[in-house]
């Protein structure tokens, strides 16, 4: 994908502008209009110069820098306008000719996002009441500058009277933040959320939660939840051997129904975006409860410890995603564990979440052709695949199946050690060094295997490869069974699935009829080779009626139940402007996943038990 010769030589990180200071002045006072004004001053020398816009964004694992949102770019040197051209191959790179005697250039531009559509940090950044900015959106960098070596001095204006939260040290006067000088790495790693309705929950002298919301009502967080957040901080400390890799940690929580669901990890903070009533509505809180623990665990697993081939010295260089089953998969595992241990979920909610993941992964028909490893290798694709056929294409399965993989590892350690050791010991060994340091420490596959072996000797490389590289029809992970539980299906959804249907207003019949659909009948996915598939249905069609009755999720479910007695399930379906009827030959009733106790001791119970 990289065409520019200068950029394609990965090792050629120049020292041209390293050690220099970039000044950034951001005016976010109009973020409600989804327009942010920025001025970036870059040190420069007379003659040709190339500068770039961040492309490979840490945490996105993809070349998805938000260049499409940059508009109204004008460059000056002193009072002189400087013409620019874009590199014809690398859209993130710009060329200028710096005029004589100039020692810097100033790049003035606006950054805009759509109100709807766009992905990750290119999605909606502002509403009438809330806003979030990530500084990778608002900075240009001299070509090939190492992000650790560039110093950024930044100023930020927020909308009048709004509250704002960030981990970036600095002082606020009125609506203007004057940030302390920071490395470009830390600058880009330190987002800011802001809101007309804003409340900061101080957990202790090192931890706080900054909540920006669409309404004052959304800030009325139950005190139990604040207690559980404190528990989360304590449990993470216990799990990761007491070492913390930040100066202080700020959970940034932005609550809006108009900003996409989103979570992005940073060393010293996390950017969490979910529904306006996500902290005050019980169903929604249960549904979103694991987001903060997930992003928080990343401070250790992902930000501090990072796969060597994923870590890059600049934002121009491609990342390699083959170890995302550790970066994201193990984080997802820690997330479940910490959510349960902190009390944000009870043990049964934790088991429900495992049941839902296990059922989904057990029905990944795409495993027939694609391995778990490939879903990570291809992360720049799997994050953005979109559309239907998720079960057959497979998505970012390294998260959910990664969680099952690490449950398999954890229970295996417990089994081999006679329950004397567990993955908690791995956590201490793997993250528990260099307390207070947020300098990334990289690792390889071999480092993971070696640390596992330190905890419990076994052929871990083979154990992992057997699962990562597997293609076939079985779910290769067996942690649930080894943990004393069994995945079964009944005709009633588990509590977590029920909460999910309430929040997302759809119906998931993947394990029965072989399809999932929205409240308006849009078919999200069809299980490859399942009953709906065999009847001819494909994702994207719209179910209009079920057995001649107007479609609703309940009408569809009732029809599946009624079909147990032999009746057909007849769907009137709209395909663009065409209507046709599909008969599905399925008579086994509704199926929803649950975990039930099986033989052996209850390791899942042990794993979910608080340490503090």
């Amino acid at each position: 994908m990289l065409g520019s010769a200068a950029l394609s030589v990965a090792a050629a990180v120049a020292s041209l502008a390293s050690g220099s200071t970039v000044n950034v002045d951001v005016d976010a006072s109009e973020i409600s209009r989804r327009i942010v004004h920025a001025k970036v001053s870059l040190p420069a020398k007379t003659g040709p110069m190339t500068f770039t816009y961040p492309k490979w964004i840490p945490g996105d694992h993809s070349p998805d820098g938000t260049i499409a949102g940059v508009v109204n770019m004008r460059i000056t040197a002193g009072k002189e306008t400087v013409a620019w051209t874009r590199d014809p191959v690398e859209m993130f790179a710009f060329h200028v000719d710096v005029p004589p005697k100039a020692t810097s250039i100033e790049i003035a531009f606006d950054f805009v996002t759509p109100s709807d559509g766009g992905t990750l940090s290119g999605s909606n950044m502002g509403t009438e009441n809330v806003g979030v900015i990530n500084f990778n959106q608002l900075v240009f960098v001299p070509e090939n500058a190492k992000s650790d070596d560039v110093t950024v001095k930044a100023r930020l204006t927020v909308p009048k009277g709004w509250g704002a939260g960030t981990a970036l040290p600095g002082t606020r006067k009125g609506d203007v933040f004057d940030f302390d000088a920071a490395s470009l790495t830390t600058f880009v790693d330190s987002p800011v959320n802001m809101g007309r309705h804003f409340k900061r929950f101080v957990l202790d002298d090192k931890h706080a939660v900054s909540v920006a919301a669409e309404s004052e009502a959304a800030l009325d967080v139950p005190t139990d939840v604040v207690t559980e957040w404190r528990q989360l901080v304590a449990e993470a400390g216990a799990l990761f051997g007491g070492a913390r890799h930040y100066r202080r940690y700020e959970f940034l929580v932005t609550l809006s129904d108009h900003v996409d669901f989103f979570g992005l990890e940073h060393h010293e903070s996390s950017d969490n975006r979910f529904a306006e009533r996500g902290l005050i509505d019980d169903d929604k809180r249960a549904y979103y409860a694991s987001l903060l623990p997930h992003e928080y665990a990343h401070s250790w697993n992902g930000k501090f410890r990072r796969p060597a081939d994923l870590w890059t010295p600049t934002f121009d260089m491609p990342m390699q995603d083959d170890l995302l089953w550790v970066y994201e998969g193990l984080t997802d595992y820690w997330c479940g564990v910490l959510t349960a241990r902190a009390g944000l979920w009870d043990a049964s909610q934790y088991r429900d979440s495992l049941a839902s993941i296990a059922a989904a992964m057990a029905h990944r028909s795409g495993r027939a052709w694609r391995s778990l490893q490939d879903t990570a290798d291809a992360a720049p694709l799997t994050y953005f695949g979109g559309g239907g056929w998720i079960s057959f294409r497979r998505g970012t399965d390294f998260y959910p199946e990664g969680q099952l993989l690490w449950l398999d590892v954890d229970t295996r350690i417990r089994e081999l050690s006679g329950n004397k050791r567990s993955l908690d010991d791995f956590a201490r060994a793997f993250y528990g060094m260099d307390n207070g340091s947020y300098v990334t420490k990289t690792y390889t596959f071999d480092d993971v295997v070696n640390t596992l072996n330190q905890v419990q000797a076994s052929d871990w490389a083979t154990f992992l490869h057997d699962r990562l590289d597997y293609t076939g029809s079985e779910l290769p992970e067996h942690g649930i069974e080894r943990g004393g539980w069994k995945l079964v299906y009944t005709d009633t959804p588990n509590a977590m699935d029920k909460a999910m249907e309430k929040v997302r207003h759809g119906v998931n019949l993947a394990y029965s009829l072989g399809l999932s659909a929205g409240s308006n009948g849009n078919i999200y996915d069809v299980q490859w080779d399942g009953p709906a598939f065999k009847a001819g249905l494909v994702p994207g069609l719209v179910i209009v009626a079920v057995n001649s009755k107007d479609y609703s999720p309940d009408v569809l479910k009732d029809a599946v139940t009624a079909a147990k007695a032999g009746a057909p399930i007849e769907l009137l379906v709209k395909n663009d402007e065409l209507y046709s009827t599909y008969r599905i030959d399925y008579h086994d009733g509704l199926k929803y996943p649950h975990l039930v106790r099986a033989k052996g001791s209850d390791l899942l119970g042990d794993i979910a038990t608080a340490r503090k």
Partner: protein, 634 residues
Amino acid sequence: MKTTVLATALLAAGLGLLAAPVHADDVPPVQDTPYAPGTLKIHVDATDVAHRIFRVHETIPAAAGPLTLLYPQWIPGHHSPTGPIDKFAGLTVKANGKTLEWTRDPLNVYAFHVNVPEGASAVDVDFQFLSAQERSQGRVMMTPEMLSLQWDTVSVYPAGHNIRMIDADASVTLPAGWEAATALELESKNGNTLDYKTISYNALIDSPMLAGKYHKQIDLDPGAKVPVHMDLFADAPKYLEATPEQIKPHRELIQQMYKLYGAHHYGHYTFLTSLSDKLGGIGLEHHQSSEDGVSADYFTEWKKNALSRDLFSHEYNHSWDGKYRRGADLTTPNFNVPMSNTLLWVYEGQTQFWGMVMAARADLWTDEQARDMFAYAAATYDKGRPGLASWRNVQDTTNDPTIAQRAPLPYRNYQASEDYYVAGAMIWLDVDAKLRELSGGKNTIDDFAKAFFGMNNGDWKVNTYTFEDVVSTLNNIKPFDWASFLRTRLDGHGPLIGGIAEHGWKLTYTDKPSDAVKAIEARRGNADLTYSLGLSVGKDGGINDVLWDGPAFKAGVGPSMKVVAVNGTEYSADALKDAVTDAAKDKSKPVELLLKGFDSYKTVRIDYHDGLKYPHLERIASKPDTLSKLLKAR
């Protein structure tokens, strides 16, 4: 309980032959005596446009003792007991500052009884009239830009006296800067408050007001002693821009009417014209004015709105036919005595006829537009009213204002409704043809018009008539058994459109809609397949009407259903028409409709292969074209 004339009348109307007056109201009967206690003072505060509330303060002189106040129920021109009492609220009655208890008559919900205390000479009545806020609640009478003030909605009056013998002094306060138009004569103006000259309560109710932010007055008879105006009120100033070419036919209308009737029945006349997509629609006649509601873009989209233009000729004609000359049984002593509508086929039927003819004579319509509209009307009574061909007759439809009160009907074509309008026009076209035939072309319906409506120039006191008067006027022009001629058509189930052929034209059906049908479809947003599939369908596939025993009806289509798809393709008017055409070309092809009713879907096959059918008039070469003569300007 006591019996009254009114109670008996109500019983006769409501309960048929039941004679025993066990359910009689307590309202005094109407006497032809002046209301001795004095003049009603009515003030309407019409400034609360934001809430769409008219606030009324009324002083009614009254003697001590029982007093019954009536809210008008039978509104002239509506021909039905539909005074909007459901929007009447907040009634308080005081005498000498003391609140009086009121009770509503349980058998007449429009009547309120109070007891006027000794020493009092008047009662003070306060109430509000709450305009509908949206169409589903009734007629919206206030918008941010204009208001329609009808005095019957904002006043009560004492029972027991002929409304022509009760005097009323009305005033209104309008929003600042608004202008008003009405046939009432202004006595004084104080700021935004307009005080009108004292007038009979009857004439007050006949003289509504239109007021608004954006107003323009057009003189329709420049230089005339008796002024005729068009007072335009619009949603926005740009809609007031009428060009000289557009004004010309409206002016010509006045002259054509004068030529036709040779007399008029007003001291001055104004068309209270609302150019609005917000104010509730209206076409309501009065002696000296009419309320004419057309779309905001009536002038600015002149061609598109061509078919609305006969509204003006129709309502104007009513000043002669309906207001001045009125069926004797329709002429009531007050607004709460039931009306009898037996002669509405003259009142509305002949007005419908002249509305169309005068639109052509004045050049509001071209001859072709008029013929298209006659074809559209004729088709309705050729194939579109199975109810009239079977169980109901035109005469019986004159009861429909009281029966249906213009509520939406499930099977309009079979139930029949106010068919005395257009079927009436067809009958009068036939009468014209008969007069021409009997007189060898010397006499026409113009002679009837002049003889029946054209007397007593300038007089606007109601001049009543009976069926016999109609017949004898026709006989005076040309002797014939006119009673049988009319009764056959009014009371029978036979053909009503003979006048078309008699005038030298034939009703035919082709697969191409006329411009008039296209315009009607565009205005209603529907696809009219009445004469082919036997149904008409709205924009979103909602079915408006299903022709009784027509192909769609026989296949199981009902008017409550929605067409979802046609031959498997999402509904659109074009998809439906294409399917009908395809089924005509290839007889093996069905017209298959996917229908939704309540929450259920079903598919019906309509066995129809005769293609699209739209009505047109076609010349009969062997007969003289007297239709063109009828439509020709005098």
